[in-house]
Amino acid sequence: MIVEEIKKSFLTSLWFMFLTFPIMVIRVNTVDNIIQWRWANLLLVGIVSFGLSALWRYMIRRKELGIVQTEVDGIARETLSQRLLNERRFTLPALVVVSIFALSFPFIFSLYQTNIMITAMIYVMLGLGLNIVVGVAGLLDLGYAAFYCVGAYSYALLNYHFGLGFWTVLGLGGGFAAMFGIILGFPVLRLRGDYLAIVTLGFGEIIRLIMENWNEFSFGPSGIANIPRPGFFGIEMNLVQVTTYIYFLMIVLTLFTIFVVNRLQNSRIGRAWIALREDEVACQAMGIDKRKTKLMAFALGATWAGFAGVVFAAKTTFINPASFTLWESINILCVVVLGGMGSIVGVVVGAFILILLPEYLRFLSEFRILAFGAVLVITMVFRPGGIVETVRRTYEYKETAH
């Protein structure tokens, strides 16, 4: 068995050595007109690919063994994250440490770090919003950045034309995004799966293209600059202070999002979303209004993107359509899928990993995105349910006098 595996790894490494031979071994020196043969590189590639392949095989085998074990004794293995989340002795201290860390963060770390954290929290909001649509209601939405765009532009434009402040528009931006959620929702009510994904993808591109080409309305690709940062009772603040202020603002907004989304998921409408994901006909037979419930999922999901968009515009003070491309939607979807569909803790963790990882991988320079991709692939192979798999809190029956 082991010999077999080693043989396979060995063949893999041979194959890699062959594949990388032209780029890793041969180097044509055009100055001296000679060819350099770097045989040491070949050896390096061989050893590294053999090692990685062996590790990969070992991990896959271990995972399969776990599945077989579950089938034999019927006990579903709880993942480490689930065990930790259920352990009060762990969650309480962890919560304290995280909150102390979060509260002192902008005073310890640089402005740059604080800015990254704000971005990460914006993604937490976006992820939680998309989680309602994708994770709970099971409607694959590839155009989510459109609502983010609507939020950002509603702040930028309302401020530019009417001088409306941050706080006024925060509510309005959410409302506009919800409205667009419903506008998208109507035509896709009858669609599911792949078809839904295509239509939402198209919708996302439409919004972006309108913003890019309708110069009179949105100032086109050059975007809108000089968007004011949020004020705090008219107090003048320098860049560091205002960033710290936005940071704490984002903490409050993120907590608010988590609170509301959690309440929603554990409400009757939240269960109706799950039910709708599972069986539409049965839902109709139960008297669940398919149209209303789906539209509500789209609207309530989009609202958070609207809020996040307003904060984003206020934070960067400049927006243009290039910030709201398909890549953005996919990034947000990655947050949800990587973190764990339907799990709030998962989405939060996913957002931090997905935003912080590329930032801290900068030392890898041009290999940054490659390493990032590798992390995504490995996570999805070994943890298909996401980093924190959903442990849905279920509706408990309280034994009361009746």
Partner: protein
């Protein structure tokens, strides 16, 4: 209570119902029997508004319901146990039941009904916090019936409750159906392929063939009808 007047239902270009008329009186157990593809399920789907008939009329308590949305129909007191159970596998038993009471806001009434269905099917009470997908076929059928009862229907539509179940479980479920009818005066519309069993429970029966009602009579005389015997009872 319910009268279906000459309905024609289509799936795209395919006509499934070619003029179906029937009457259901309050407190009755009615059964609709027929072979595969006769249009039994389509009849039920037309009544609960999930499929809209192209022509014809459906009246419930004197009101026309054939253009009303399914959720309104449920709120008027018609609830359906869909074919093949169709419970929500990732929701717990209790959450499944809560979905049945989706349109109701009277918490006390819901609690009373919850205790009632638990008294009908004690096994569900034991498994209340288990997810629906982990139940056995019979338990899932019980859950599906209970879920429909949670809407406190005046007319309960049952689509093949015996499908894929062991004879003993089927017998148990049919006894409960009878009990529901007797205890709450709930009118029951039972669609079945198992004609023998259905006719023993029902007061009256309709026989369906190729989208048309071909026979209607009391259950007793249908049981002794030669044609029915040959075609559906296998005697």
């Amino acid at each position: 209570m319910l009268s279906v007047v000459d309905i024609h239902t289509y799936y795209g270009n395919i006509q499934a119902l070619k003029g179906v008329s029937m009457d259901v009186k309050e407190g009755e157990v009615i059964t609709l029997i027929g072979a595969n593809g006769a249009g039994k399920t389509t009849t039920l789907m037309s009544i609960s508004g999930i499929v809209v008939p192209r022509t014809g009329e459906i009246l419930f308590m004197g009101e026309v319901i054939n253009r009303v949305t399914p959720n309104k129909i449920v709120s008027m007191g018609i609830s359906q146990v869909p074919e093949g159970r169709r419970i929500f596998p990732y929701l717990t038993v209790l959450e499944n039941l809560d979905m049945g009471a989706f349109l109701r806001n009277d918490n006390d009434g819901v609690k009373t009904d919850l205790n009632y269905v638990f008294s009908l099917f004690p096994i569900l009470a034991d498994r209340r916090n288990q997810s629906g997908g982990t139940l056995s076929g019979g338990e899932q059928q019980m859950l599906a019936i209970s879920r429909a009862l949670m809407a406190r229907p005046r007319l309960l539509l049952l689509d093949e409750p015996s499908l894929g179940l062991a004879p003993l479980v089927v017998k148990q479920i049919f006894e409960i159906i009878k009990k529901i009818n007797l205890e709450n005066n709930t009118t029951i519309f039972l669609v079945e392929q198992n004609a023998n069993l259905a006719l023993k429970v029902a007061h009256r029966g309709y026989v369906m063939e190729n989208g048309r009602i071909t026979l209607s009579d009391t259950a007793g005389s249908l049981l002794s009808n030669e044609d029915v015997k040959r075609a559906y009872l296998g005697i």
